[in-house]
C-alpha cells in the first residue's frame, strides 16, 4: 500500500524491509515483543537496590523500567496505528512504519542501556535477574520485528555503494529511513475547540516530559531518558505527528503562544524543592541570551565569538546599581531602572565594539569579537583599584547582590499567591520567563519585517544587498546593538539570581554555560534563525553537563563529537529553519515539489 501511495506522489521510495520477513509475521513479532517488554517491566531486573532506582520489585515498574514501559507502549500504539486500527489512524498520518521502528529502537536503546549499566556497575551479568533477561530479549524481539516491517526510505542511489565504507554507508541508509519528502495527506477537519485542545495536550505532554527530564535524580535515569526521548521524538516526526502539530499551531498562533507561556509558567508548581527551579532559571537565562545571539548569527549572519561579554556588561551594571555592599557605586536603583541601565550599558558597549569591527567580514569579524570578549573579562578583572580604577572589585567580583524587590514584593522570600506557594527561585523564574517572552517577541517581530529581511539579505549576499539600497554597515550595527541589548537585559536578572558577579563567569569556553562557545553551540545545535531552536539547544546544553557528572572531564570532547555528528547528519540543527531545511536537503525538496 505504501509503495502505491508513493508512486502516486511520483517519488521513488524503497520499502524493502531491512530484515526479510512476511508483513504479517513482522507485525505479530513486533506486537508480541512490545507486549512482552511491557510485562517484563513489572518483573524484577536485578537482585539488589544498589543500582539506583530500585529495580528489584516484582509487581510494579520503577526507575528506568518506567522508561522501557513508556517506550514499549508507544511502540505498540504506533504499530497498531500503522496496522490501521480504527481510532488510532490519526496517530500515524504519514501512513508508514517509521514511527514504529524509531520507538522500537528507543525502547531497545533505553532497555539495553539499563541492563548494561546494571552489569557494569554491579560487576557482571550475574547481577541480572530473569526479569532483566526477559526485558532485553523482548526489546530485541520488538526491534527485530519492527525492522522487518516495510520501511519508507529514500531509494538507493544508482548503483550500489562501493569501497571500504560501503557497508557503513548501507547501515547508515538503513538507520535513516523516512525523509522521502512525501507530503502528508490532508488532515480530517476537526472543530476549532478540538484543535485547541490538541495543542494544549501537546504542550501538557511536553511540559511533563521536560519536568521529568529536569527532575531525574541520577545520571543513569537521565541518559536513559535522553535515549528514549531522542528516539521517540524522531519516531513521532517519522509518523508525521510533528508536521500535523506544526499545521495546527500555524492555524492557531495566538493559542499556541499562550499555551507555551502557560505551560512554561506552570513549571514551578510542579516542583516542591528549589533545586530544579534554580536549574530552569539558569536554562532560561542561557536560552534568552542564545536567542539574542540568534539575531546576530542567525539573522544577520555575523559570527560573534565574544557575545557573553554583553551578558556580563548587563550583569555588572545591574550589580553596580543594586545597592550591594561591595559595589563601588553606593546607589540602589529600583529594578526597572536597573534593567534599563543594564540594557543601555550593553547597547552602548555593543555599538562601541560594533562600530569599528563590523567593517570586517567573515572570519576576521569572528576573531575580533573573540578578542573583545576576552578584553571585557580581563578589563573587569583589573578594574580593582590597583591595576586600574576601582570599579568592579577585580577578580573578587561583586558579591552580596540583594534580592529584587518589585512593588514591595521581595523575590528572596517565599510567597503564597492564591494558595500557590512560590519559592524565591520560582519568583525569579517567572520574572525571567517574562524576559524570555519579550525577547521571543522582539526576535520574531524584528525578523519578520523590512529590517529582518534586510538582515537576511546581508547574510545571503552583502554586495547584492547594498546594491538594493541597504546600508549594510548600519543594519549590521543595528543587529549587533539589538543582540547586545537583549543579552544585557538577561544579564540584569542573572546578577540577582546568582547574587554575585565575577569576571570568570564570562569566559569564551568553560564547563558551565552560558559562555560564548556554548551560546554559539546552542544556536547552531538548535537551529539558526529559529525561535524554538536556541531554546531547545540551550536546554540540552545546560542539562547534559548538569546531569551527566561523570562526563566532567570529557565534556568538551563529548560536545565536539556530538557537534561533528550533528553537522554531518543534520546541518540545519534540531529545529530546522524552513529555508535551511530546503538548502541542506535539496534533493528531498526537489522531490517534494515534483
Amino acid at each position: 500500500m505504501t509503495s502505491q501511495q508513493s508512486q502516486q506522489h511520483g517519488t521513488a521510495v524503497d520499502t524493502t524491509p531491512v530484515i526479510p520477513l512476511p508483513l504479517g509475521t513482522a507485525r505479530v513479532l513486533t506486537a508480541a515483543g512490545a507486549a512482552l517488554t511491557v510485562l517484563s517491566t513489572f518483573l524484577s531486573w536485578t537482585w539488589t537496590d544498589a543500582f539506583p532506582g530500585n529495580l528489584t520489585v516484582t509487581g510494579y515498574p520503577g526507575g528506568l523500567q518506567l522508561l522501557t514501559l513508556t517506550g514499549a507502549l508507544l511502540t505498540l500504539v504506533h504499530l497498531l496505528a500503522a496496522w490501521g486500527i480504527r481510532g488510532l489512524r490519526m496517530l500515524d498520518p504519514a501512513g508508514g512504519h517509521g514511527g514504529t521502528v524509531w520507538t522500537a529502537a528507543g525502547t531497545f536503546a533505553a532497555t539495553w542501556y539499563t541492563l548494561i549499566a546494571i552489569a557494569v556497575q554491579l560487576g557482571g551479568l550475574a547481577n541480572l535477574e530473569p526479569g532483566g533477561w526477559v526485558a532485553g530479549a523482548a526489546a530485541l524481539l520488538t526491534l527485530t520485528g519492527a525492522l522487518a516491517l516495510p520501511l519508507d526510505r529514500r531509494a538507493t542511489a544508482t548503483g550500489t555503494a562501493r569501497g571500504r565504507l560501503a557497508a557503513v554507508r548501507d547501515i547508515m541508509r538503513t538507520l535513516h529511513p523516512g525523509r522521502t519528502g512525501r507530503p502528508l495527506p490532508p488532515a480530517r477537519p476537526l472543530p476549532g475547540w478540538a484543535e485547541i485542545l490538541l495543542i494544549a495536550a501537546a504542550f501538557g505532554i511536553s511540559l511533563g516530559v521536560l519536568t521529568y527530564g529536569i527532575g531525574t535524580r541520577y545520571g543513569e535515569l537521565f541518559t536513559g531518558f535522553l535515549f528514549l526521548t531522542g528516539f521517540c521524538a524522531a519516531g513521532l516526526h517519522q509518523a508525521g505527528l510533528t508536521t500535523r502539530l506544526a499545521e495546527l499551531t500555524a492555524r492557531h498562533r495566538n493559542v499556541t503562544v499562550a499555551a507555551a507561556f502557560v505551560a512554561a509558567a506552570l513549571f514551578p508548581l510542579t516542583q516542591d524543592t528549589d533545586e530544579y527551579t534554580l536549574i530552569i532559571v539558569n536554562i532560561l537565562i542561557f536560552a534568552t541570551v542564545a536567542l539574542g545571539l540568534n539575531v546576530v548569527v542567525g539573522l544577520a549572519g555575523l559570527l560573534d565569538l565574544g557575545y557573553v561579554a554583553f551578558l556580563g556588561v548587563g550583569a555588572y551594571t545591574a550589580a553596580l546599581v543594586s545597592g550591594s555592599t561591595a559595589s563601588t557605586l553606593h546607589v540602589r536603583f529600583p529594578f526597572w531602572a536597573a534593567v534599563l541601565t543594564g540594557a543601555a550599558a550593553s547597547l552602548v558597549f555593543g555599538v562601541v565594539i560594533g562600530a569599528p569591527t563590523l567593517r570586517l567580514r567573515g572570519d576576521y569579524l569572528a576573531i575580533v569579537t573573540l578578542g573583545f570578549g576576552e578584553i571585557f573579562r580581563l578589563a573587569v578583572g583589573n578594574l580593582d583599584g590597583q591595576s586600574g580604577p576601582s570599579v568592579t572589585n577585580g577578580p573578587n567580583g561583586i558579591p552580596n547582590i540583594p534580592d529584587l524587590e518589585l512593588f514591595g514584593y521581595n523575590f528572596g522570600d517565599k510567597h503564597s499567591v492564591g494558595g500557590i506557594a512560590l519559592s524565591p527561585f520560582a519568583n525569579y523564574y517567572l520574572l525571567m520567563l517574562l524576559f524570555t517572552v519579550i525577547v521571543v517577541l522582539v526576535f520574531s517581530r524584528a525578523g519578520n519585517s523590512r529590517i529582518g529581511r534586510a538582515w537576511i539579505a546581508i547574510r545571503e549576499d552583502e554586495t547584492a544587498a547594498t546594491a538594493m539600497g541597504i546600508n549594510a554597515f548600519r543594519l549590521k550595527l543595528l543587529a549587533f546593538a539589538l543582540g547586545a541589548t537583549l543579552a544585557g537585559l538577561a544579564g540584569t536578572v542573572q546578577a540577582h539570581v546568582a547574587h554575585t558577579v565575577v569576571p570568570e563567569q564570562y569566559v569564551f569556553a568553560g564547563p558551565v554555560p552560558p559562555n560564548s562557545a556554548f551560546l554559539l553551540a546552542a544556536v547552531i545545535l538548535g537551529g539558526m534563525g529559529t525561535i524554538t531552536g536556541p531554546l531547545l539547544g540551550a536546554a540540552l546544553l545546560y542539562l547534559i553537563p548538569a546531569k551527566l557528572q561523570f562526563l566532567q572531564d570529557y565534556q568538551l570532547l563529548a560536545f565536539g563529537a556530538a557537534l561533528i555528528l550533528l553537522m554531518r547528519f543534520r546541518p540545519e540543527g534540531i529545529i530546522p529553519n524552513r529555508r535551511q531545511q530546503l538548502e541542506f536537503h535539496e534533493d528531498t525538496a526537489a522531490k517534494a515539489e515534483a
Partner: protein, 282 residues
C-alpha cells in the same frame, strides 16, 4: 531626444594599481532611452557599471543622476534611483521569490526597527502595500506562480527575471542590466527583449551590457562601444553597425593578406610531431 540627461558620466577612469580598466569614459542616458554597452570581453563594461553604481569609487571622473552628483556608495546610488542586476546572478538564494522582491523595496519603505517591534497600523499598511507592489512586479515579470519558492530552486531563466523584478522593486528611474540574456536560449532571449521594452514603456530608462548583437540592435536607441577600457564609438545602432573598427575590435584585425603556404605547413608539422611524441609517451 533632448532635455537633461538622466545619467551623465564624465571622464570616468578606474585604475587598479598599474592597470587602467576604464579610461576617461563619457556616457549619457536620457529619459526613455535604452542604451546598449557593448565590447569584447575584458573591455571594462562591468567595471564601468560598478563605477556607475558605487561599488567602485572611480579614480577620476564624476557620475551625475538627474543633475546631482552620485556619491560612490551603492546604497545611496540605489536610493537615488539606479537599480542594477549582476552578470553572475546574485539573488538572495535562500529567501523566497517574494522576499527577494520585498528586499528590493527597501529604499522605498521607511519602517524601522521600532515600528517593526510595535506593529502599529502604519506598519501593517506599509507591509501590505509592499507585498502588493511586489506581487504586481512578479506578475509583470511572469513569476507570480513562483512567489513562495526559494530563489535558488528557480530555473536559470527565471532567476534572471527575478533579478530584474527585484531591481524594479526599488522603483528606479534607470535600470542597469549586466548581460541579461547570458546563457539563455533564443525563446528566453526574445522574452527578455519584450520585458526590457515593457520596462522602458513603464518610464524606466535602461542601460544594458550584452553580447547578443541581435538583442542590442533590436532594442537600443543608442549604443556605446568600449574597447580596452576606452570608448571607441557611440551612436545609433546603424552608426555602430557600419563602423569597421567595431568589427575589428570583436574579431581582431585581418591579416595582411592570406596566411602563406609556409606558415600552414609549419603548423601542420608541429602538430604531427606533438601527436607522435604523445603516442610514444604512452
Amino acid at each position: 531626444m533632448t532635455g537633461t540627461p538622466l545619467l551623465a558620466a564624465t571622464g570616468v577612469t578606474m585604475r587598479f594599481g598599474g592597470l587602467t580598466a576604464v579610461r576617461s569614459v563619457d556616457l549619457t542616458v536620457r529619459p526613455g532611452q535604452i542604451v546598449g554597452l557593448i565590447g569584447p570581453n575584458g573591455a571594462g563594461k562591468t567595471t564601468l557599471f560598478n563605477c556607475l553604481t558605487g561599488l567602485y569609487t572611480p579614480t577620476e571622473g564624476t557620475v551625475t543622476y538627474r543633475g546631482r552628483t552620485l556619491p560612490p556608495k551603492p546604497h545611496l546610488v540605489a536610493q537615488a534611483g539606479i537599480s542594477r542586476t549582476f552578470q553572475n546572478i546574485r539573488l538572495f538564494a535562500n529567501m523566497t521569490v517574494l522576499e527577494n522582491v520585498l528586499v528590493g523595496r527597501h529604499t522605498r519603505t521607511r519602517e524601522g526597527l521600532l515600528s517593526a517591534l510595535v506593529r502599529g497600523p502604519a506598519f501593517h499598511r506599509a507591509e501590505a502595500a509592499s507585498a502588493q507592489r511586489a506581487t504586481e512586479l512578479l506578475a509583470f515579470t511572469g513569476l507570480a506562480a513562483k512567489s513562495g519558492h526559494l530563489a535558488r530552486n528557480l530555473p536559470y531563466g527565471e532567476q534572471r527575471r527575478l533579478e530584474i523584478a527585484r531591481a524594479l522593486a526599488g522603483e528606479p528611474g534607470l535600470l542597469l542590466l549586466d548581460e541579461p540574456t547570458a546563457g539563455m536560449n533564443p525563446q528566453e532571449t526574445r522574452a527578455t527583449e519584450e520585458l526590457v521594452l515593457a520596462i522602458r514603456d513603464r518610464g524606466t530608462a535602461v542601460l544594458v551590457i550584452e553580447h547578443d548583437m541581435r538583442f542590442i540592435f533590436n532594442l537600443c536607441d543608442r549604443v556605446t562601444v568600449l574597447v580596452q577600457g576606452e570608448k571607441l564609438v557611440e551612436g545609433t545602432t546603424e552608426t555602430v553597425q557600419r563602423d569597421e573598427r567595431v568589427v575589428a575590435a570583436y574579431l581582431g584585425t585581418p591579416f595582411e593578406g592570406a596566411p602563406g603556404q609556409e606558415e600552414v605547413a609549419e603548423v601542420e608539422a608541429a602538430e604531427e610531431a606533438a601527436a607522435e611524441s604523445e603516442g610514444q609517451g604512452r
